[in-house]
Amino acid sequence: MKIFISIERCLMASYSTNDFKSGLKVMIDGSPGAVVENECVKPGKGQAFNRVKIRNLKTGRIIERTFKSGDTLEAADVVDVEMQFLYNDGEFFHFMNPESFEQFGADKTAVGDTAKWLKEQDVCIITLWNNVPLSVEPPHTVHLKIVETDPGLKGDTSGGGGKPATLETGAVVRVPLFIQNGETIKVNTRTGEYVSRA
């Protein structure tokens, strides 16, 4: 059943420039992409064009492309699914869909910089392309334990910048001087900044 649906999607689904809107997932140059912007340009008389910006979901790069109005692109089978991080076996990061219990292995390219925020049991958003993880988005905030930081010096008032602390996942963030080894802190993964004690 599942295979049948995939084949049907490959054969049927394409989008015309009229469908192009921010977020639409399409195939471009053999890679999955997301439409960022679509502007119609038309001379006073003559051919109408669409100037389209598409983000290549593999590389993150923005591609600019001009279409004749009405031209089409194949749909990309790309979906975002919430999944729980299970473990890292050194080659793949394994995730599980908590509803279907289906497991997926994401390679280092797909995980990228997100690896430093991944803690077992945390729920991430996995972008799947043709059922293979394409990218991993960590939770907005994570709770992580400090494994190494200098003891704060009493009466140290120099600067306000705090000190570096290495977390259990290997990420390094700046924390206030009063934070000690072994404490668990809350970190914003978008900015990479300390939020509070957990």
Partner: protein, 328 residues
């Protein structure tokens, strides 16, 4: 979404639009150009393959079995019938309708000012169009003296090619050189598609900065309803008016030869068929009027919503239209 009953334009902009209309009517009144009205619905449609007409149906007395009517994309044909009937110079302010056009600079219905001047050629009409736009923008925008640029000069200046003599290879080379990434095979397009690519992507952004730019004398293949001046190459006596890189108006030294008009209708209809577009019945009344005799004249159509946008310093049409398509 719950607030979509509200206009997307501010009251201040709506007042600006009303003032624009007053100024336009005063402008033509001073020049004794007659205001006219012509039908929105016509049994004929625009045959231009780049335009898509809305259609509707009337059933009742006179047409008991029903008749398809097309919403005009411009009032050009009936206004020319008035000219042929001896109206003298005329203007009209009306809503026109174009299917498939929506975006920052497009709304499927929009307000058009169209006028015809008996005895004018396209150069005299360009001067008058500059006078009108300058008058309407008084107090909103200060413009330097307008610039006139032939289609050839614009291509030479901004693309380094002669658009009339350049072959497909040369045009495709210019498209590539200017970094235009087309999602279609440019080597297999016709010259006009490539010229349009260069015009919209490379040239237009340079036009109309701080002053009006007029582009004139187009390739004969882009004549639309303009007369073609014989020569090497023959040139269409057509112009467009730009401000802030945006096309505001398109005008012609009007074609008056009925036989040539009929050939263009047939050519358009064949292109529509080849492209799989909806059929568009040609206007037999226009052909009859041309046969009866259209006085030598020039005409121009100007988008008033875009003009309001430039007067208001707005970035998109929805800021100057009370209820654009998604709120209509």
């Amino acid at each position: 979404m719950i607030d979509n009953w509200r206009p997307s334009a501010t009251l201040e902009v709506l007042k600006l639009r009303a003032r624009m209309l007053e100024r336009i009517r005063a402008f033509f009144s001073q020049r004794t150009v007659l205001e006219v009205e012509t039908p929105v619905f016509s049994a004929a449609a625009s045959t231009d393959p780049a335009l898509a007409s809305f259609s509707t149906r009337y059933t009742g007395p006179r047409f008991p079995r029903g008749q398809t009517f097309y919403c005009h994309t411009s009032p050009e044909f009936p206004m020319k019938r008035l000219l042929a009937a001896g109206s003298g110079s005329i203007y009209q302010i009306c809503k026109v309708f174009r299917d498939g056009e929506s975006g920052r600079l497009h709304n499927p219905e929009f307000t058009m000012l169209e006028w015809y001047r008996v005895g004018f050629d396209h150069h005299r009409l360009m001067d008058e169009a500059v006078a009108l736009v300058t008058e309407v923008l008084t107090g909103y925008r200060t413009l330097a003296v307008a610039e006139k640029l032939s289609y050839r000069e614009a291509f030479e200046r901004h693309c380094g090619i002669d658009p009339h003599t350049a072959d497909i290879q040369t045009l495709a080379g210019a498209v590539t050189r200017h970094g235009i990434q087309a999602n279609f095979d440019i080597a297999h397009e016709n010259q006009d598609v490539l010229r349009d690519l260069l015009l919209t992507h490379v040239i237009e952004p340079h036009l109309g900065h701080g002053r009006i730019t007029l582009l004139y004398d187009y390739p004969a293949s882009q004549a639309a309803l303009a007369r073609v001046r014989p020569g090497e190459p023959p040139l269409a006596e057509r112009f467009e008016l730009y401000l802030d890189g945006i096309e505001l108006a398109n005008g012609f030294h009007e074609l008056s030869d009925a036989g040539e008009q009929q050939r263009r209708f047939e050519h358009d209809r064949a292109r529509r068929k080849a492209a799989g577009l909806a059929e568009a019945p040609a206007d037999a009344h226009l052909l009859a009027a041309l046969r009866a005799g259209l006085p030598d004249c020039a005409g121009v159509a100007l988008g008033l919503d875009r003009l309001a946008m430039l007067a208001a310093g707005a970035k998109s049409l929805e800021q100057v239209i009370a209820f654009p398509a998604d709120r209509a």
